[in-house]
Every structure is written in structure tokens, then in C-alpha cells.
């Protein structure tokens, strides 16, 4: 009824850009640039499964901010999401926050930059390459995807926020031994309502509708028919 996407019976899985972020974080740990990787997710019970995937990919711990509000822009919106992440950052004190560049449900792309602004941290968005060794004393060199090509940005000192784009890496599969190890890893659950953040939506969604279907093409039987249609129907031939 155009009021929103029907979520009943839809299988939830990790946002592809977030998967890339998790993969990058695990690689940073494997290359000894990072000590510990904590996966964070905001959402309902099913987030538990997504966090297990992150743990199976190599994260050490997970934090689940629990809420039953819809996280696809319909109820919980980027500003509130960013404020929730801000609270988590305040308690965890990480040196680097890696996120997907946007969520494929809302396609907003706002949470990362908003979080960086709230924290007062430098940010590099649409990262296609992250180099922790390249900039000397605890900074990062990030190659960013832009419409006109790749831009290289240096973040001189951490902490910082980096959002990840498609070309950054190819996320690994969760291997069986790691899936089993993941069962024993810690997942802390906190309730979003108890975190002292205003969760109300500031923007109202008026309508949600599918784009109009592409007009069907027709298959012609012969070249003669094609020429005929180009002349009479499409009007592109004399």
C-alpha cells in the first residue's frame, strides 16, 4: 500500500557494505595493525545472527544494541543511529570505526559522516583502499571512490571514521571451525531505549513505491519485420 516495504518473512542478512567493513577490520587485525575487532549492530533479535557471522569472519567480540524499531529509515533514522553509535564509541573507545558506506535498505549513506561529526573525528568515505602502514605514526592513507576518479586522502592521526565501498575487498566465507569458535565469543546486549538517545524520526516518509516497470520489448521473427517496425512504429527509419 505504498506505506513501506513489507518485512514479514524476509530473511535478514548483513548489509553487503558492512560485510566489506568487517572483512577490512579482520584483515587489519591479521596484519597486526589492530589488536581487537568489535562488531556492533543496531536492530532486533535477528541481529544476533548477523553478529555471529561477523564473529565467524574473525571479530573478537560483538555489541548488540537492541531495538524493535525499523532500521530502514521508516522509524530509526540516520541521526538517531549515529547518536547510538556515538554512545557505543564512548564506552568502547576504539581507534577506528569502519562502516559500510550506506545501508541497502535505506541507501541514505548518512550515518558514517554524521557519526564522525558528532565525535569530532576525521572521516574518509567510500574507501576503496585502506593503508594503515603507509602514513607513519598511527594514521591512515585512504583511497576514495569519487565520480571523477580515485582521490587519496591522508588521515594523519587516529581515531577516525572510515566508510567502505565495494572495491575495498572481497569478504571471506565463514569457515566451519570459525563458526564454531564464534559460538563461544562474547556478545553484549544493550537496549537502545536505555541509552539516553532521542530515537524519534525527524523526517516523515510520505510514500514508498516501486519504479515503473520497463516497457517490454518484443521479439521479431525476421529482419524484414524489424525494418518494418523501425519504419512504422519506432519512426526512426524513412
Amino acid at each position: 500500500d505504498k506505506s513501506g516495504v513489507d518485512l514479514s518473512n524476509v530473511k535478514m542478512s548483513m548489509n553487503p557494505f558492512c560485510e566489506i567493513a568487517v572483512e577490512e577490520a579482520v584483515r587489519l587485525k591479521e596484519s597486526k595493525a589492530a589488536d581487537e575487532v568489535v562488531a556492533v549492530s543496531i536492530g532486533p533479535k535477528q541481529c544476533g545472527e548477523t553478529l555471529r557471522t561477523a564473529l565467524a569472519m574473525g571479530c573478537d567480540r560483538a555489541v548488540h544494541v537492541s531495538t524493535d524499531l525499523r532500521t530502514d529509515y521508516m522509524q530509526l533514522q540516520p541521526l538517531a543511529t549515529a547518536r547510538l553509535f556515538e554512545k557505543v564509541v564512548e564506552s568502547e573507545q576504539p581507534d577506528l570505526v569502519l562502516m559500510g558506506k550506506q545501508g541497502i535498505d535505506s541507501d541514505a549513506g548518512q550515518t558514517g559522516p554524521m557519526l564522525a561529526a558528532l565525535l569530532g573525528w576525521p572521516q574518509a568515505t567510500f574507501a576503496a583502499k585502506v593503508d594503515a602502514a603507509g602514513s607513519g605514526d598511527g594514521g591512515l592513507v585512504v583511497e576514495r571512490e569519487t565520480d571523477s576518479g580515485t582521490e587519496t586522502v591522508t588521515i594523519p592521526k587516529l581515531p577516525a571514521v572510515v566508510t567502505c565501498d565495494l572495491r575495498l575487498n572481497e569478504p571471506r566465507y565463514a569457515t566451519l571451525p570459525n563458526i564454531m569458535k564464534a559460538k563461544k565469543k562474547k556478545v553484549d546486549v544493550m537496549d537502545a531505549a536505555d541509552m539516553g538517545v532521542d530515537l524519534t524520526a525527524k523526517n516523515e516518509v510520505l510514500e514508498v513505491y516501486e519504479p515503473p516497470p520497463r516497457k517490454e520489448g518484443i521479439i521479431v521473427e525476421s529482419v524484414d519485420e524489424l525494418v518494418d517496425k523501425l519504419k512504422t512504429e519506432a519512426g526512426v527509419l524513412q
Binding site: 530473511k11 542478512s13 548483513m14 566465507y173 565463514a174 569457515t175 566451519l176 563458526i179 564454531m180 521473427e221
Partner: protein, 539 residues
């Protein structure tokens, strides 16, 4: 006559009938070069020259070559555009099979738009004694879908209407020329799925699938087409439209003749309409890609899977290291030794489908834990975390056939073997071939849960067939399969590749003689797919 086929002892009845078919092929070594002359395909050129394929007919009725006058006559019976004439090259898409091994020389292609048109075509050809090759997607692997000489090709590709779908009963009614993938998409939109799935789904058509009783990866879960086809409409050789359509699941009234046409490879009639029973779309799909070190481990994993996954197991596919080394050049293989480029000996793709994601995931987790616990069953593996990864795993499995096709000439075999001896035969053939031809590569994959092995041999970089290799493989492989009580053609069928073995290695003489009697009932003039399916030489 005597025939020596290595050191095997074969019962005398079989030996006699084999002698005629196989004498020349039993020769090995230098004499193989002489034996090449009698090579199955070349024999056609050395057989007495006739105007048509009549010498290949089981009942030896004379068929004649079609002429352009026939094309005109047929066009006058049909809608404009239904008849296409051209040189064999111009019609190469219909004249050459998917393996590019068999080249027909037909100059007339007919694409009827309705059952009535099919009936008029067959009625004419029957009267005029012209051979007809029914064709659907032309993806068959045994040369059954293309002309041997210049038989008229009757393609169902223009008959692609989906008539009806009942969402409560899941019964789909459609024409024979619907592409399988289109049917999958149609059914999915309506919460159902088509009970067969094969790598060729983008091109193959349901009429061809039914005519060849195609198997595929979900055979274990959904059963064969014999179980899922509820009704058919078939046009017989003399033009009679046989209405065996039914949307009833249960119907015990009379001889259930539709089963004759399912798997008959177009030799008893042309299927024009199908009533297919479709299961509901599962809401959860999970897949795991597992690596194992021994075939014993594969067998034990299969037993554990049946125990733990039970009714939600949908597919259990097998691949060996050799084929995945080739596929790995284009696709990422998710499990390798220490994450490097070396692969394990065997791989399995296990899929579950069900109506409750949580329930299935739990079962999958229990099953995987059990396989990893024992230590010597599954060495390593990955579990899909979302549909994208499930699809990636299937992409690997479905890439086996096309990747091999691009590697070199393929000698393709599709056998049923008791699971306990499944890989033994692969090892046996590899040893036999490696001894004299170290340049060849043996690769294996298959629906191990059904005991169905796709054993393939290729000559990397060489795209021409080498008769010496063929003689090393056949008939030794088939004899070995028969000794193990397997089937020489599990799902690919007979076509013109294996039809001569029917009667010698496949079924017994009494059975084949009844089959020929049936052929006479439905197609007394032998116009439908002459030279295929049934043996052409009498024993």
C-alpha cells in the same frame, strides 16, 4: 564368434550380442588405427550409401530426403514464417549439438506455433516418409537433438505459452517450448518452484526436459519427472493429437501412457503440452561447501546428512579436485588447504531448503558440528551466510560443465553406480588411461546422493576427438559399470551416443524387443528421430 575384452569373463549370451557390436573396438594397440575405421561415427560414412538415414532405422523402412518442394508444401499448411529453409550452415544453430560434436545437414527447419501445426507437419511427413528430428533447447549431451543427415528439424521453440497455474494445487500447464529458467521465474513470482533444475536452464526447454527425463540437482528432493508430470499432450507420428492432459494428482484409469513419452527422446511422439506439479517455494535456503580427504569420508558425510538434515536436505553434490582446479581459474573456491591455492581431494555442496529458516539453520549447524567433530570426515568447510553466498556456491558447481568444454575435447560419461563403488570406477579409469596416455585429464563431479557420476576425460588444449582415447574408454567403462550393476546412462539418455549399447550392455534382449514393438505401435514408419535411442543394428 569370440571376442576378447581384456581378461573379463562375460556370460555367453551377452558375449554373443556384444561380439557383433564390439569386435572392432576390442582391438588395442597398433590395431586401434585400423579399428578407427569402424569408429561409431565414421561407420556412417563407410556404410552403404543411401539417400537417407534409412539404414539407421530399427525396422528398416525407407525414408526419403526432404526437398524444397516439401518445404513449400509444408509452409502452405502452416502459418507464415513457420518454415525456414537455408543451407546447413545457416541453420547451424539447429544442426549442431551443444558439444559441437554432431553436425546435421538439414535444410528445413519448422517452428510450429500450435499443436495443430505440429499435427499437420507430422501427418505430412509420415505420409511422405520423411524423417523428423524433434528439437527443444538443443542442450542434450548425447547427440539426440540434431539431425544425422537431412531430416526435417521440428523445433518447439515458438510454442512457449504458459497456459495456467493453480496456486493452491501448484499445477502448471504450459507448452513444450517454455525455457526452464523462464518457468522458474514465473513459478517463483507465484511462490512455487519447478521441480527440476539443471545447469542448462537458461537454454533448455521443458519439452526437451520431459522427453529426456532430465534429472538435475534436486532429483533426490523432488523425484524424477515421472513423479512430477501429471499430464501430457503428445502428437504422434501420424498426426494424431493424443490428449493425456490431466491436472489430477491421482488418476488410476487405464494404462498410464504418459510415462512412455517421458524419456523416450522424441521417438514415440512430440510433446506439445505439459501439466507439471510444482512444490512451494522454500522460504529458507542454506548451503555448505565442504572439503574432504577420502571417498569413505564422503559416504559417511552422506549418512550424517541424511540423519541430521533429514527432510530438509535438497541437494548433495560432489566435485573432485581435478575439476575444481579448472573451475578455480574463474571462480573463487571457498575452501582450500591453508587458504592457499592447493585444493583438497573431494568437495561437497550440501543444500537445505525448508519453510523455517531457524529450524533449518539449527539442523545444518548440528550436521556440520557432527562432521567436524569426528575429525576424519570433513576436513574444512564454509557455510553460506546469505543468498548471495548460496548462489556463489552453485555457480561453482554449475560451472563444471562449461569450464570443461572450454578446456579441450570432452569425452563425457554419465553413469549410475552403487555409492559404495562410486569413486572406485573413477580411479580405475584414471589408472587405465594414464598408463598409455599421460596427456589426458580425468575429472569427476556428480549427484553422489543418487549414485550418479559424471565422469569426464579431456585433452587440454586439443579440441579434436582422438579415437585412440575413445577406444581406451569405451566399451571398457560401460562393461565395468555393468559388472558393478550400474547404468551406462544415468540421466543423459541414449541419443545416438549410446543407443547401440541398448540390448548389449544396457537392457536385455527381451526388453529391447518389446521396446521395438512399442516403437512400431506409435511410429510404424519410423519417422520420429530416426537412428536415435533404439539400436540401429540388429543383434
Amino acid at each position: 564368434s569370440t571376442c576378447s575384452v581384456g581378461a573379463i569373463s562375460i556370460p555367453s549370451q551377452i558375449r554373443t550380442s556384444m561380439a557383433v557390436a564390439l569386435t572392432s573396438r576390442s582391438i588395442i594397440g597398433n590395431e586401434a588405427r585400423m579399428a578407427r575405421r569402424y569408429f561409431r561415427r565414421n561407420q556412417y560414412e563407410y556404410a552403404p550409401r543411401t539417400r537417407s538415414a534409412s539404414s539407421l532405422l530399427p525396422n528398416n523402412t525407407d525414408l526419403r530426403s526432404p526437398t524444397m518442394e516439401d518445404a513449400t508444401n509444408l509452409q502452405s499448411l502452416l502459418d507464415a514464417g513457420s518454415v525456414v529453409t537455408g543451407s546447413p550452415d545457416e541453420l547451424s544453430k539447429y544442426n549442431i549439438d551443444w558439444k559441437r560434436e554432431y553436425h546435421g545437414r538439414s535444410r528445413i527447419l519448422i517452428r510450429p506455433k500450435s499443436t495443430e501445426e505440429v499435427s499437420r507437419v507430422l501427418s505430412y511427413c509420415n505420409r511422405e516418409r520423411i524423417g523428423v528430428v524433434p528439437q527443444a533447447g538443443n542442450t542434450g549431451l548425447v547427440g539426440g537433438s540434431v539431425p544425422i543427415e537431412d531430416e526435417i528439424i521440428v523445433s518447439v521453440e515458438s510454442m512457449n505459452t504458459i497456459h495456467d497455474f493453480d496456486e493452491t494445487s501448484g499445477i502448471l500447464t504450459c507448452e513444450a517450448g517454455c525455457v526452464l529458467q523462464d518457468l522458474h521465474a514465473y513459478a517463483e513470482e507465484r511462490n512455487h518452484l519447478i521441480p527440476i533444475d539443471l545447469g542448462a536452464k537458461g537454454t533448455c526447454m521443458i519439452g526437451g526436459n520431459v522427453s529426456t527425463n532430465a534429472g538435475g540437482q534436486y532429483y533426490y528432493r523432488f523425484g524424477s519427472l515421472h513423479a512430477n508430470v501429471l499430464g501430457l499432450e503428445v502428437v504422434l507420428a501420424d498426426g494424431t493429437c493424443l490428449d493425456l492432459c490431466s491436472t489430477n494428482r491421482k488418476d488410476n484409469t487405464g494404462y498410464d501412457m504418459k510415462h512412455l513419452f517421458i524419456g523416450a527422446e522424441g521417438t514415440l511422439g512430440i510433446i506439445t503440452k505439459i501439466n507439471l506439479s510444482c512444490p512451494r517455494l522454500p522460504s529458507s535456503r542454506n548451503a555448505a561447501f565442504l572439503a574432504l580427504d577420502s571417498f569413505d569420508a564422503v559416504r559417511r558425510t552422506l549418512t550424517m546428512a541424511k540423519d541430521e538434515l533429514g527432510e530438509c536436505m535438497a541437494a548433495f553434490e560432489f566435485m573432485d579436485r581435478a575439476i575444481l582446479e579448472l573451475v578455480g581459474k574463474q571462480h573463487r573456491i571457498p575452501v582450500s588447504v591453508d587458504g592457499g591455492s592447493e585444493l583438497y581431494r573431494f568437495y561437497l555442496l550440501v543444500e537445505t531448503q525448508g519453510s523455517n529458516g531457524g529450524h533449518d539453520s539449527e539442523k545444518m549447524a548440528t550436521f556440520l558440528e557432527r562432521t567436524m567433530e569426528s575429525g576424519d570426515v570433513v576436513v574444512d568447510g564454509v557455510l553460506s551466510q546469505d543468498m548471495k553466498q548460496v548462489q556463489e556456491m552453485w555457480n561453482i558447481r554449475e560451472a563444471c560443465n562449461p569450464t570443461l568444454k572450454d578446456t579441450g575435447h570432452n569425452y563425457k560419461y554419465d553413469i549410475s553406480i552403487p555409492i559404495s563403488q562410486y569413486y572406485e570406477i573413477a580411479d580405475e579409469m584414471k589408472a587405465r588411461l594414464a598408463a598409455s596416455r599421460p596427456d589426458i585429464l580425468c575429472v569427476n563431479w556428480g549427484h553422489v546422493i543418487d549414485g550418479n557420476l559424471h565422469f569426464n576425460v579431456t585433452t587440454p588444449g586439443v579440441f579434436e576427438e582422438d579415437p585412440e582415447i575413445l577406444y581406451l574408454i569405451e566399451p571398457y567403462l560401460f562393461e565395468s559399470v555393468v559388472r558393478k550393476r550400474g547404468s551406462i546412462s544415468a540421466e543423459h539418455g541414449l541419443g545416438r551416443c549410446k543407443n547401440e549399447y541398448l540390448g548389449s550392455l544396457a537392457k536385455n534382449e527381451a526388453a529391447v524387443s518389446k521396446m521395438k514393438a512399442l516403437k512400431n505401435v506409435f511410429d510404424p514408419n519410423g519417422i520420429l528421430n530416426p537412428g536415435k535411442f533404439l539400436p540401429t543394428r540388429s543383434t
